[in-house]
């Protein structure tokens, strides 16, 4: 297993390096800004004194490389700095936001993953049937829908017309688990619909790819029952591609969560990010973006590693 650990460590290192490069690009972009972020934030009418005071407050009077190193040191030691808008320590409030978002993503994944795998498997097994064609057309259509369109349609039917779910998901920490789950269900359902189409199409493609390989045909030819072919011959080799599909789509979920949280006024990281962008609260945006980027890179890494583990040939690239 030593070569496997080596590969995993290599990938992890690459991921950390990517995050580092991203932070460098951001720092560089701040420097590129014509004029200065203080002027942009305070407006044209700000007096030179206020601008100078504000610059000193957020540390803009120091040279760029020192500022960057300090930020980097803070990030590594768990100190994300202060919000420009509320003046509060970012680490104070980002934790609950993050756990809310992870909860929402978790619920969505718990619904979407089994459903997509099941429907994708069916579409692959009965390919070119009417069921398969309907699935193909509906998924192609739903991929083209903006997330907020799906969200408002669900609100209209499941909240306004029938009154089953609340239209706003204002969860808080003192809520009981069941209550929290209930309020999270509608945004989670939206996210499910958003990723379901992608996941289903990819599962279908992965399984069809597998079923066309010679050893499956051999199993059929020697008279094995279809169900046994799936469970004993196809599935052991399918886990790799399937986990790959799941990891890739969970990464996709990271993006969808931003819009969905805003629609449902769900107090998660995505909403915080959008709010901070409109207030131009750079430290908060930086912190949120780094977390989102880290999760995204980590999930992609996971799918990479799983595909390597499930296919030993990739362990020894020629």
């Amino acid at each position: 297993m030593s070569s496997l650990t080596k590969v995993i460590l290599q990938r992890l290192g690459l991921g950390v390096l990517t995050l580092f490069a991203v932070s460098l690009i951001i720092a560089f972009a701040v420097e590129l800004l014509p004029g200065d972020i203080t002027q942009a934030m305070l407006g044209q009418s700000a007096t030179p004194e206020t601008v100078a005071a504000f610059r000193a407050e957020i540390g803009l009077d120091r040279p760029a490389h020192i500022r960057y190193l300090q930020w980097l040191k803070g990030m590594l030691t768990g100190d994300m700095g202060r919000s420009l808008a509320s003046k509060r320590e970012i680490t104070e409030f980002i934790g609950t936001r993050l756990s809310n978002t992870l909860f929402l993503g978790g619920v969505a994944a718990a619904i979407a993953v089994p459903l997509a795998l099941f429907l994708g498997l069916l579409a692959a097994l009965y390919r070119n049937s009417i069921y398969d064609r309907i699935v193909n057309l509906t998924t192609l259509t739903s991929i083209s829908f903006p997330e907020f369109f799906v969200a408002y349609i669900l609100i209209l039917f499941l909240s306004v017309k029938s009154g089953i779910f609340p239209g706003i998901s204002n969860v808080s920490t003192d809520l009981a688990f069941g209550d929290k789950l209930f309020r999270t269900l509608l945004p989670a359902l939206t996210l499910t619909l958003v990723v379901l189409a992608h996941m289903l199409r990819m599962t279908r493609a992965a399984i069809i790819n597998l079923l066309s390989s010679p050893y499956i045909e051999m199993a059929h030819l020697k008279g094995t029952r279809p169900f046994r072919v799936i469970t004993h011959h196809a599935l052991p080799n399918a886990w790799g591609p399937i986990v790959n599909v799941i990891a890739l789509n969970l990464a996709y979920l990271v993006v969808g969560v931003v819009v969905v949280e805003v629609v449902f006024v769900y107090p998660g990281l995505g909403q915080l990010l959008v709010d901070s962008v409109s207030k131009r609260d750079l430290p908060v945006v930086q912190a949120c973006a780094m977390i989102f980027a880290a999760v995204y890179i980590l999930l992609n890494l996971l799918s990479d590693i799983v595909s390597i583990v499930s296919n030993p040939r990739l362990l020894h690239p020629r």
């Binding site: 800004l33 192609l140 997330e147 369109f149 408002y152 306004v160 990010l273 959008v274 962008v277 930086q286």
Partner: protein
């Protein structure tokens, strides 16, 4: 060309007709729309009447007129963005394929980094730094999206630059620009065109999402994404008006996807024989 379109599958034909409808609306918006996009013509949230077919919006502007002008603004901005993305990505991609060496290495690594982070997250970061104006919106998304175009045009051009006719052109002493324009570009046009449709869908949805979040196209410009946001409260009163601009967005992306599906099929078929 006419024969090609007549032989297209039904879904692609429907898609083409829908796209033409959108383009027509966008071009002739001032003549079709009953009111101006910014004029306040009634009280806020008026119901659907003969005077205001889809009612009025949150500050009393005619919904139908804003939907029609929205076609022009939303599609126009997305189209401009994709064009710029293709200019940047296409040229750098082809150059990377032709020059190779350290230039290829440097740009490819930069693209890898930009693609390692979701573009929505990157765009939000850059919008914080540069502010939310239409110009910065177009440039930021164009640059982020050009990474995808770079990948495609580089890998497609890679297969072309090793051909004898390109070598012959270089030995003749033709300049770099000539090689790109006359030798490489015509041979990678088919995959680039299909990619153009896909990228347009992506950028269009992306800008709509940003506008919906209040960070894209700014008021009072009529734009479908922000119109959904402005009129969203109506949904709680069982009124489907806010769904109209969202449906307009979905309609165009579905239509473009149908056409792209057919084009991908076509270009893969042409390449295999």
């Amino acid at each position: 060309m006419g024969k090609l379109i007549l032989g297209a599958p039904l879904s692609a034909k429907i898609g083409l007709v829908i796209i033409l409808g959108y383009v027509f609306t966008a071009v002739f918006a001032p003549w079709i729309a009953p009111y101006s996009e910014t004029a306040i013509v009634g009280s806020s949230y008026e119901l659907w009447t003969e005077q205001f077919i889809f009612g009025t919006d949150n500050i009393g502007r005619d919904m139908l007129s804003r939907l029609i002008f929205g076609a022009r603004n939303t599609i126009g901005i997305a189209f401009a963005t994709v064009i710029i993305a293709f200019l940047i990505g296409g040229v750098t991609g082809m150059l990377a394929a032709i020059l190779g060496g350290w230039y290829d290495m440097a740009i490819s690594r930069l693209v890898d980094i930009l693609m390692a982070v979701p573009s929505l997250i990157f765009a939000l970061l850059l919008l914080t730094i540069f502010g939310t104006s239409v110009l910065s919106l177009i440039l930021i998304i164009a640059v982020l999206d050009s990474t995808r175009v770079f990948r495609i045009s580089r890998s497609a051009a890679m297969n072309v630059v090793v051909m004898e006719f390109v070598e012959a052109a270089r030995l003749r002493g033709e300049g770099m620009w000539w090689v790109i324009r006359k030798e490489v570009l015509p041979n990678i046009m088919a995959p680039l065109l299909a990619e153009f449709g896909l990228r347009f869908c992506f950028v269009f949805l992306f800008i709509a999402a940003l506008s919906f979040l209040g960070l894209g196209i700014q008021p009072p410009t009529a734009d479908w994404g922000s119109m959904v946001r402005e009129n969203a409260p109506l949904i709680n009163y069982n009124d489907i008006t806010p769904l109209l601009p969202a449906a307009a967005i979905a309609g165009l992306t579905v239509a473009v996807n149908f056409v792209v599906d057919w084009m991908l099929h076509l270009s893969s078929g042409l390449r295999s024989d």
